[in-house]
Subunit: 309 residues, 2 copies
């Protein structure tokens, strides 16, 4: 499983004088100049798993591939600078796919001021594979890591959760501008983007920070799409279940000191995007839920993980 492999990898990767942050966060940080840090992240999307070209244009795939990487930079509070893309194109129809992919990438790049720096174009007899590497810079306030949450910090989230498969997983906006603005407004202690599922990604911040987290279930902002998906699937999973585990919301989960959290929630500086306080980081490790009744119980982190054996 992906998480086991990453745990193994982190043990195995040697230290390097220019590697400020290695595998295990949303992006890596390399020191290039005296005071210049390069934030780098790569994402690979495959036809059949991440998108279905029968249902979705290559343009939207291109848009999404870059947006996923920009969401990782947002989770680091890094300013995006440039990107490179590598593709494996089916031999037949590959040219038009490449053009459409590029148009989607370019649209997203322009929107966030990202330079389209280069790439590698391959063809083969397999399905479409796209890999985007995004490069950013840290700002004056430094990078936002997963590991800085402190017991007592509030859990702040942007936007709403669940049901992204109904459309948001393709057309989401990476929270690049929001992340930079919030990091400028107050000291963010830790952050992650919800690519795999709110509960799973929150449990990762807690684990990296050596603490636990308790979610007030009544406060989780549930997307209309989560209600719609629960209705469509009618399998006993509630809209809240979807919000906690669907993933690909690409929203931010942040650890913020209580006084800053109260101020941000009151001021709503990234409106119309909603900032919501959904709970607290605590000393006791693990993920917990609390309901209106006030009873605290363990909460199983759930979400998307790549499986291989």
């Amino acid at each position: 499983m992906e998480s086991d492999f990453i745990a193994w990898l982190r043990q195995r990767v040697p230290p390097h004088p220019q590697l400020l942050l290695g595998p295990g966060d949303d992006a890596a940080i390399l020191r290039l100049g005296d005071r210049t840090d390069c934030v780098v992240t790569v994402d690979l999307l495959t036809e059949g798993v991440d998108f279905d070209l029968q249902a979705v244009s290559a343009r939207r795939v291109g848009r999404k591939t870059l947006a996923v990487s920009l969401s990782d930079l947002a989770a680091m509070a890094a300013r995006p600078v440039g990107m490179v893309v590598a593709v494996a194109l089916p031999r037949r129809g590959g040219r038009q796919l490449a053009v459409d992919l590029f148009e989607g990438l370019a649209e997203m790049a322009e929107r966030y001021g990202v330079a389209v720096a280069g790439g590698d174009t391959n063809s083969w007899d397999g399905p479409l594979v796209v890999s985007v590497t995004a490069i950013g810079q840290t700002t004056a306030v430094g990078p936002l890591l997963r590991s800085g949450a402190k017991p007592g910090d509030r859990i702040l989230v942007t936007g709403t959760f669940g049901g992204s498969i109904l459309g948001k997983h393709l057309d989401f906006e990476p929270r690049v501008n929001e992340s930079l603005l919030l990091a400028d407004r107050c000291r963010l202690h830790a952050g992650i983007d919800t690519s795999d599922g709110l509960s799973l990604d929150l449990s990762r911040i807690a684990a990296e920070s050596g603490c636990g987290a308790v979610i007030d279930l009544d406060r989780v902002p549930i997307a209309p799409a989560a209600h719609e998906l629960a209705r469509q699937q009618n399998d006993g999973r509630t809209p809240l279940d979807h919000a906690l585990s669907d993933g690909e919301d690409f929203e931010l989960v942040l650890a913020v000191a209580p006084e800053d959290a109260a101020r941000l929630v009151s001021e709503q500086p990234v409106a119309p995007l909603q900032l919501t306080d959904i709970g607290e980081f605590i000393v006791e490790s693990g993920l917990w839920q609390i309901t209106a009744g006030g009873i605290r119980q363990p909460l199983q982190p759930r979400g998307w993980e790549h499986r291989f054996d």
Copy 2:
């Protein structure tokens, strides 16, 4: 075809204040700090096209994938700093493949002082796909581009050419150290690595530099593997044909002023790796050959191009 698409892409990519060098060279250059340039290149390898897991271990694939990207950095006379890797793993046996790939990558990374910074691990029902992004820094002498050759410059090459499919295409050494040493010793005007074929890659330097190139066929250093391959295939192609077009030699082709070229050939500063003068850049555009008889004729650039339509 790949080259048509890249030509289209270069027209289409908008300028960006931090993009010093965009698509069309061996790597891109992004300006990150006041004086800090990030050199970035991505390569994607697919099972069935670039390697055959029936014949080759995943470890050698990992080693090659990073080496291909390091060869691109060498072609820019950039010092490698770090890398990220994205993989699409078959679900069955993916874990062992991932471990073996990583071991090969790590071995190559350690050899060239490259930080293993992170990656993206995916699984699917398709064959193995590996994409490596390498990041480097320019040195005090600046980057080496394809576009700086001047008529009168000599064509210098490292090593020998042809027949790499017999083994070198997997186990080659990227000319990282040689490139940095040569760039430090004299002003290199232009450079490329021979990933696609000596004649094709040389024609690219010439085209980017707005000049032509003439190869003295008698001086092309032919690898023993080119002789072996010609013998095995017995299809009328000579060892020289293989040397000019096989590709995946991952040697350097450099444009150097005549006096510097004479000095480098005399001193052989990267011995035991041979430096050979194989011809001259000229005013007249196109690629040309000259033989012992002294007759100059057009030479068709040949090599590997990804095809899709």
